[in-house]
Symmetry: C2
Subunit: 232 residues, 2 copies
Amino acid sequence: MSMTNANKAVVLTSGGLDSAVTIALAMADGYECHCLILNYGQHHKIEIIRAQQVATNLQTASSLVLDVDLRTISRSALTTSIPIPKGRSIERIGQGIPSTYVPGRNTIFLSLALGWAESLGAATIFFGANVLDYAGYPDCRPEFVMAFNELSRLGTQQGIEGSPITVYAPLIQFTKAEIILKGIELGVPLGLTHSCYDPSPQDKPCGECDSCLLREKGFQEAGIPDPALEAR
Amino acid sequence: MSMTNANKAVVLTSGGLDSAVTIALAMADGYECHCLILNYGQHHKIEIIRAQQVATNLQTASSLVLDVDLRTISRSALTTSIPIPKGRSIERIGQGIPSTYVPGRNTIFLSLALGWAESLGAATIFFGANVLDYAGYPDCRPEFVMAFNELSRLGTQQGIEGSPITVYAPLIQFTKAEIILKGIELGVPLGLTHSCYDPSPQDKPCGECDSCLLREKGFQEAGIPDPALEAR
């Protein structure tokens, strides 16, 4: 019989706005949060450092950087020399699947979170996906999360023994502006977060990739300046 | 629009009997096989070399060893100092989940295979799971494979575009003896395969772990000697 702890959770942590606010929401709900940060060969490696800084700032129970180099298996603008789309209109972002889609990425990340959760005896995985202001990725949708939960129920010891590990995506129906406002309410260090897919060698956001544009739109709609731009 | 090739497949390749026979079955069906071999921090690292040797011997289209060190996230006898069960009766093997279960392992492996399959434009993943002579792992069962296929359909570009990547587990209802006989029929180099969870420093099988015992029973029932033992 495995031992599970209903208050323990693994949080997929990317260094971006969504996962930072997700950590804070989980902690406000009383979860002991263990942050899983993936070093997967992304060009924007700065997000790994930012993810660690966010986890430290929010005083999570632990954080762990796991290496899984997807560059050899993934055809994506985030991991290869395929160009990152720039300057797309907000209307076009989210229509169709862009070249920044990393095949299987969230399935891979959630499965690693599942393995860690079961080893820790955690009952919950928090996942910062959202489908409103998002980049059109299939593995960010509610139906994907539901299918993963069914897989978790069937493919783990905890599932077999009647206490399956469940993925929650608390921000899935939030706009970026709502996520930002929730983050401010919860004291999330939004200035530490990083969203850009293609930062300069000095880690300055490009301001033109989908991720920068969605972030900019979010702060505009929230009616506040982006502290990450202010600080730098 | 992604390009898919119905004859291209990724095969999860472990170096054991089941995945070797799975490769041969896929090739006999006309698939161009790309073997994904996982270096996940298992104690029995010899299986990685054997997996490469099997892939080479069977003249697969390609093989790739991917590192994903699960030792930091997985509580399992295969990756930590938890003792590997020895000398269990065949009746007890498969009842309950043993300490050699690696939390989330096949979910992790299939998700990596999914990412590679989508990047290659492959329509199929072959997976050598079987539930008859098996060690009681929840992530080897038909219902787990079906749930993964639903996840693949919902979480990938190929799935969204109507040509989802499908996992096949052609041996799932085969006994170990049937797998061995099929392997001999197809010319699989069974002598290259490795099953033992706890080999000696010279990579000699222990003869007492569940995996050795299931293999021994399979060769006995097939009525032939194990060429891996003959050769060494």
